[in-house]
Symmetry: C2
Subunit: 212 residues, 2 copies
DNA sequence: ACATGTGAACTGCTTCACAGCG
DNA sequence: CGCTGTGAAGCAGTTCACATGT
């Protein structure tokens, strides 16, 4: 299969959330034009994105909302439940544990880990914080497919190495630094200070096209 | 001035945080090669990124760490303090209010707003939650340059319209949906479910190059 | 000799435009 | 006729390679 651009995958997520929204409202068909308008892109882009995976529409008619939703869920790997652990039970980790949006999408937070003895046993949405020494064992036993990392930056690469060593293949990091993983482990980093810097950059050069 | 790619701005942030780290350790000079190794890019990319803004290095020698840090801070608009308000005092909003990383970078959370009467007056790191009806007035009076949006998706576009109407020019949204702003208002969206979907996409097609 | 700065070549994503099919 | 699906063209971002300056 061809290499799919990250930008394409992001747009597929956007299309899916739009489809689920209008699907819940009872809309049965839609078009690449509709999907484009919402996603802030063009109809050609929508069709090109979908074309990497198959032909899901009917010429002259458009797309069936339930059908296309199902295809996108399958493509994005949402046709199953995923078990996720949160490593780091601080402010952000706790907020994410309680965030309902994950469960709606099939992501179950089934474990939390921290090294601070004061946090052990604390409950977040029915999940108790465990000692981080058990993390490696639990990953090796196949309990989790995805790890969310919300530890201080000093410890982050160290924990990543443990996660990778134990066999995890997907990590979402909130640590504000650049981490490294082997090529077979997917890492995404959300760096909030960096996002704000993108905004101040735009604010500072008060020229045209801030939008991006 | 030429249009700068978003990817370039993101890398500048990465370079800066690396420079500050090694600067704090007393390192005085560095090279495009060093910066590249850390940022997961190439030395040519580093030099090209910097070249959009000037010539900050010495041929044959490299870059002065304090000088390049200062230039990057200036370029990214970090040469001043920014006042930021958080709209939505739920789980994520509260966690962000307490997140120390913002202040370190010159972003001061100086206001919080919510519409839920139960949340009014609650304190987060010394900032009281105010009624959202005051938000428009406070933005118009110039209290904030940046707004962080952590409200439920149903209300998000509505709040964006209020923010934009009151004159805000930069918004960081955590709402899991696509929002629209006029071209002179910069909007960045962090969508955690979408990040996880990027991971499951990679996990599902267990082929090569997961990394991106 | 060494590392920067930069035009030129290249790669890959996006847009165009139209053939194909309902 | 309308909207999809897709090769071809266009464009933007990255990489190359070397001239330039110390």
């Amino acid at each position: 299969m061809k290499r799919i651009a990250e930008s394409t995958v992001r747009r597929l997520s956007i299309y899916l959330s739009f489809l689920e929204e209008i699907g819940a409202r009872g809309v049965l068909t839609t078009s690449s034009d509709d999907l484009a308008r919402l996603g802030g892109t063009t109809s050609a882009q929508v069709r090109k994105d979908l074309s990497f995976f198959g032909s899901f529409g009917k010429r002259g008619l458009g797309y069936s909302v339930p059908e296309l939703s199902a295809h996108l869920r399958e493509i994005l790997g949402l046709g199953r439940k995923w078990n996720v652990c949160i490593v780091g039970a601080g402010k952000i980790g706790g907020a994410l544990a309680r965030y309902a949006g994950f469960a709606e999408r099939g992501f179950n937070i089934t474990g939390m880990y921290d090294s601070d003895p004061h946090k052990l046993g604390k409950m977040y949405s029915g999940v108790a914080v465990q000692d981080i020494v058990h993390l490696e064992r639990d990953i090796k036993s196949g309990k989790y497919q995805i790890a969310i990392l919300t530890v201080p930056p000093e410890n982050a690469q160290n924990i990543v190495d443990i996660l990778v060593g134990a066999g995890i293949k997907a990590i979402l990091s909130f640590a504000p630094l650049q981490l490294t993983t082997p090529p077979d482990v997917t890492l995404r980093t959300v760096n909030m200070a960096m996002e704000l810097e993108g905004l101040t950059f735009a604010l500072t050069k008060r020229s045209s096209d801030q939008q991006y």
